[in-house]
């Protein structure tokens, strides 16, 4: 894309946000999800440019989230409330870096209908996100520094593990997970 085209598309996106921001008099009642960014690169950090446009504090309106995301974030909140030595073996609570990555991961997933998410604390300050279908399971371990490792399991047997270097790499993992679910065809 030429530079002119890039900025035209950025400006268009900005105009769309303004147009949907209320009745034309004020721009405060923004109803757009915060994942839309007018920057040239979409990234999860766009949630910082919150719906309340002059606002600095970062929030995610729940109407921008699927039910599984809301429930998952509630569980994350409980895990983040754990005290020092929560595991009885001297572990610190989940770190802010792990918490930030976990939150960014959960809200970055644009699949509405996903199996419930489990959020598990990991000794040493990490967090593990887990999804499970009847035959497959996916674990994303977020280490205390915010890096991510994954494990795929099929019929109880590990089939693949590795590192995720970017948050958008979660999509193919989730596609693998849900492709094991039966597809219902209307009669």
């Amino acid at each position: 894309m030429s530079e002119l085209q890039k900025w035209a598309s950025a400006r268009y996106a900005d105009a769309v946000i303004s147009a949907f921001s209320g009745s034309g008099e004020t721009a405060n009642s923004c109803t757009f999800t915060t994942s839309i960014s007018t920057n040239s690169s979409l990234s999860y950090t766009s949630t910082n440019s919150s719906c309340w446009y002059t606002q600095w504090s970062s929030v995610i309106p729940t109407r921008a989230l699927s039910q599984w995301q809301i429930e998952g974030i509630k569980r994350l909140n409980k895990v983040l409330s754990l005290p020092e030595n929560w595991d009885s073996y001297g572990s610190r609570p989940p770190t802010q870096a792990a918490a930030n990555t976990a939150m960014d991961l959960i809200i970055s997933i644009d699949i509405d209908d996903l199996v419930p998410l489990r959020v598990v604390p990991v000794s040493g300050g990490g967090i593990q996100l887990e999804w499970e279908t009847s035959t497959r399971a996916l674990e994303l371990e977020i280490l205390d520094g915010g890096t991510i490792e994954y494990l795929k399991t099929e019929d109880g047997t590990p089939v693949d593990e590795g590192h995720m270097h970017r948050i958008d790499q979660v999509r193919p993992l989730l596609s693998w997970l849900i492709s094991s679910q039966p597809v219902l065809i209307a009669a």
Partner: protein
């Protein structure tokens, strides 16, 4: 850091116990399933040598935790080292040392241990995660 060595005085049929926080168990499953996250630690996986302690001593100060058990021989078969690490609170304390950085187990090892472990005590929380 000194190289860790397996302790042959801990016999293969010896059982190892580990406390599990309620947030690390999926209580919606029947029976409840322990997460692999419960076997994920750095600086070795803390356990207690069953023959050198009691369940009461293990859980006395941690009444909300469940307890799992697995055999030394199984952990060794996965490639882990087992050695004593007595503490003031727990003279029977030992460590299961994995091949990764700072004694972490690989994900496959964690998964295998989780599948092989038996839950001796379930302590279901009031409000579940």
């Amino acid at each position: 850091m000194p190289e860790r060595q397996d302790d042959p005085t801990i016999g293969k049929s010896e059982r190892l116990w580990r406390r599990i926080h309620p947030f690390q168990i999926n209580w919606n499953a029947n029976p409840p399933i322990v997460s692999t996250g419960a076997f994920n630690t750095s600086d070795g996986l803390s356990v207690s040598i069953a023959s050198e302690t009691t369940l009461e001593a293990l859980t006395q100060s941690h009444p909300e935790d469940s307890v799992v058990e697995f055999e030394v021989g199984f952990a060794r078969s996965l490639g882990c080292l087992i050695f004593r690490d007595p503490t003031e609170e727990d003279p029977a304390h030992a460590l299961v040392w994995g091949p990764k950085s700072r004694g972490r187990l690989s994900k496959t090892q964690m998964d295998s241990l989780r599948n092989a472990a038996t839950v001796l005590i379930y302590r279901r929380p009031q409000a579940e995660n």
